[in-house]
């Protein structure tokens, strides 16, 4: 069993236009996860008209007058607060390992 928060978990992403949901491990570009009729080409769903236009051949760019395609997304964050951080535990185990394996000869 893997405890929540001890293994990578995907982000839930939802198109604000149609509600289509997707899950992604791409935490840097979560908007790319959703592909739907609102935004048929995967991209960051950001307001950068330049990058948008590359994907949509000049047809898109949220925030740009006349935009007909792009829709923003909702990104659902999760967090697990606990007494001991997994990374700290692993670090502590690593520090203890050489001592626990040390053999003392008589």
């Amino acid at each position: 069993m893997t405890l929540p928060g001890f293994a990578p978990e995907p982000l839930r992403v939802s198109c604000l236009g149609c509600g289509t949901e997707a899950w992604t491990y791409d935490y840097q570009h979560p908007g790319r996860a959703v592909e739907c009729g609102c935004c048929p080409a995967p991209h960051d769903h950001d307001a950068n008209a330049a990058s948008c236009s590359l994907e949509h051949e000049g047809d898109c760019g949220k925030g740009v007058p006349g935009c007909r395609v792009c829709r923003p997304v909702a990104i659902f964050g999760t967090a697990h607060l606990r007494m001991f951080d997994p990374a700290e535990l692993l670090e502590a185990l690593g520090e203890d390992a050489p001592q626990s394996l040390e053999v003392t000869e008589a």
Binding site: G5, P8, T78, H80, L81, M83, D85
Partner: protein, 130 residues
């Protein structure tokens, strides 16, 4: 030790072992941050269009089996440059707010582009003492 603000960890120990009271406050607010908090250092709170400094009120379910999670949801719409979300903190609403718990977002740093919404659904923030 993760999770507890060091000062408030002491207050909790005193509450249990010395039967002293902790500050009585009206609620808890969730704050978003761009760096990782520690027990002794606050994170850098997000400062950008679409986010109000001090955070958003969040309610929590009654604890069960030494664990709980939020019952209310919260959302913020980025109205500026891309956010890079790393940490979160739970502060009370005292006149001089006190930080109680802290943590990091799963998968942090999470990028939230302009126009996108960062949302915490019910049960999105879980806290456990086991």
């Amino acid at each position: 030790m993760a999770m507890f603000d060091q000062g408030q960890a002491g207050a909790i120990l005193n509450a249990v072992l010395r039967q002293s009271t902790t500050a009585s406050t009206t609620g808890i607010k969730l704050r978003l941050g761009t760096s990782a908090p520690t027990a002794t250092a606050n994170m850098t709170e997000l400062s950008s269009s679409g986010y109000t400094s001090g955070g958003t009120v969040m309610t929590f379910n009654a604890a069960s089996a030494a664990a709980t999670s939020n019952s209310s949801s919260a959302s913020w719409t980025n109205g500026g440059s891309t956010w890079s979300l790393v940490g979160l903190e739970l502060w009370d609403e005292a006149g001089s707010p006190v930080r109680w718990l802290f943590g990091s977002w799963t998968g942090q740093p999470i990028s939230i582009a302009n126009g996108n919404v960062f949302q915490v659904a019910a049960a999105g923030v879980a806290a456990s003492l086991v």
